[in-house]
């Protein structure tokens, strides 16, 4: 693990967001420690993405107190690469410093796309594009990574590979992360702690005390899975 400043990277209290008459977030308290991966679960419309956008600084109309310390990077559900920039220029977008080229190449190598610097985004598959988006986040040396259903648009096999990649990168770089997902298994595979959002509040906060690398047939996995599905309102019979 890389050396990092100790202390929490995110502290938020009483975060509220109202769209018209609908209260989406009704007083959220959240802390994320340095190097901690927190999965944020919830049904559609539960406000997961809204909370992530607030922390990313993309929502100007939220109220409450929140603070993000250190470097921040975001990976969205869609890759959101600029189609008119080559892969390397997309990764290096807005990165200052003299050794940007070397860092870009290193980040691309880490996501398994070494040598694709000169490619256009249109030449990449969905999974490759999302890898570039991860490299674009990595090159910023983030203390906090915000991921908004980052593997949700990928096919099942690619998703498994990306989850493994995330696990590796996390072990290597030790960044903290807020992972928004609706996939309970993904949350249990990757996170140190899971939060369940419902009715605009955090209704469940469960640590995941499993050792890495994890697999869905690990002892303890099933019980946690049933617990989370229960809190998400899915009948236990499944």
């Amino acid at each position: 693990m890389a050396t990092r400043p100790t202390g929490d990277v995110v502290t938020a209290t009483g975060v509220r967001r109202v769209f018209g008459d609908t209260v989406v977030l009704d007083g959220i308290d959240l802390t994320i420690g340095s190097g901690e991966v927190v999965a944020l679960l919830g049904g559609s419309g539960s406000g997961k993405t809204t909370l992530l956008r607030i922390l990313a600084g993309l929502d100007q109309d939220a109220t409450g107190d929140w603070q993000v310390r250190g470097n921040l990077a975001v990976v969205f559900q869609e890759h959101r690469l600029l189609p008119w920039k080559r892969v390397a220029d997309n990764v290096a977008l807005g990165v200052p410093g003299p050794d940007v080229q070397r860092r870009t190449a290193a980040a691309l190598t880490e996501v398994g796309l070494a040598g694709r610097e000169r490619a256009w985004p249109a030449e990449l598959s969905g999974g490759q594009s999302q890898r570039v988006a991860v490299a674009r986040a990595l090159v910023r040396e983030p203390d906090l990574l915000l991921l908004d259903e980052p593997f949700g648009a990928l096919d099942a096999l690619t998703r498994l590979r990306m989850q493994a990649l995330f696990g590796r990168l996390r072990a290597e770089h030790g960044f903290a992360a807020l992972l928004v997902t609706h996939d309970v298994e993904e949350a249990l595979l990757l996170a140190d702690r899971t939060l369940v959002l419902a009715g605009g509040r955090v209704v469940d906060d469960t640590p995941v005390p499993l050792t890495h690398p994890r697999a869905p047939d690990d002892p303890g996995f099933g019980a946690l899975r049933r617990h989370l599905l229960d809190r998400l309102g899915v009948p236990a019979a499944a």
Partner: protein, 274 residues
């Protein structure tokens, strides 16, 4: 029924010789124009078409050659090009400024766009009488007319281009730490370029159209003047030379713009580039 019966064999033939087809089609597409030119030439030569209505095409080419040789054509062409260039520069410049203000700023949108939308309803060529009163019948009339014709396609394409930019890309750029100016440079400007090129091509077409009309009003030079003068002396062949020059100008400018567009927007052909 017969058609149904013959179809399968026709498609079988199509797949059997794929390489020969594009070439053969190109030749086939040339047939009608060539036939028309030959018809035109022979019917004028034998007197079916009266010479003063439509002289044979060889006469037109000869007249064009004569005008090119004694330098008349070059002088008039340069004057026409100067007018088109000045009008294009003014019209495009104005459209870039106003289109950017309306496209990028909410206040600009509210203040600039409504009057432009209203003025668009006026066909700009119908403004000639008013423009003569305002700026006279000299050079400024021609340049103003071209600038007006150029402004609208340029403005609307730029405005739509800026509006069509994917907000999600702008957000991604924001999370990468890009400020407003950097976002315009890296996201808005390149994202608007395809629309800008389309606007420029339409604007150039509008420029030639405006020039044709402008140069028929009290002019002493230019391709339009050449044609009006030839009409007075019933030199139909010179009138036709002028028409061909206008057509060539339109064709050439479009070809050049498309070539520049292809080179600039390589990322759109990304899949073919490797």
């Amino acid at each position: 029924m017969t058609e149904l019966a013959t179809r399968p064999s026709a498609t079988a033939q199509k797949t059997a010789r794929p390489a020969a087809r594009p070439n053969r089609r190109r030749w086939r597409r040339l047939t009608t124009p060539v036939v028309l030119v030959v018809l035109w030439e022979t019917s004028s030569r034998v007197g079916v078409l009266p010479e003063e209505k439509l002289p044979p095409i060889s006469e037109v080419v000869r007249a064009g050659w004569r005008l090119a040789e004694d330098g008349t054509l070059a002088t008039h062409l340069l004057d026409s090009l100067a007018r088109a260039g000045a009008g294009l520069a003014i019209g495009v410049g104005l459209a870039l400024v106003l289109g950017s203000i309306a496209g990028l700023l909410r206040l600009g949108d509210d203040l600039v766009d409504p009057p432009v939308q209203m003025a668009r309803m006026l066909p700009h060529l119908a403004l000639v009488p008013l423009l003569i009163i305002w700026v006279g019948i000299g050079e400024s009339l021609k340049v103003t007319l071209v600038a007006l014709g150029v402004f609208y396609p340029m403005y609307f394409n730029l405005y739509a281009g800026i509006r069509d930019i994917d907000e999600r890309l702008v957000e991604a750029a924001r999370t990468c730490g890009l400020g407003a100016v950097a976002r315009i440079r890296h996201v808005v400007l390149p994202g608007t370029l395809p629309a800008l090129f389309l606007g420029l091509r339409l604007a150039t077409g509008a420029a030639w159209l405006s020039l044709v009309v402008g140069e028929t009003v009290a002019t002493q030079s230019g391709i339009g003047f050449l044609m009006m003068e030839a009409r007075e002396f019933s030199q139909t062949n010179v009138v036709l030379v002028g028409l061909f020059i206008y057509a060539l100008l339109g064709l050439l400018s479009d070809l050049i713009l498309r070539a520049v567009e292809r080179r600039t927007l390589t990322w759109r052909r990304g899949l073919q580039a490797t």
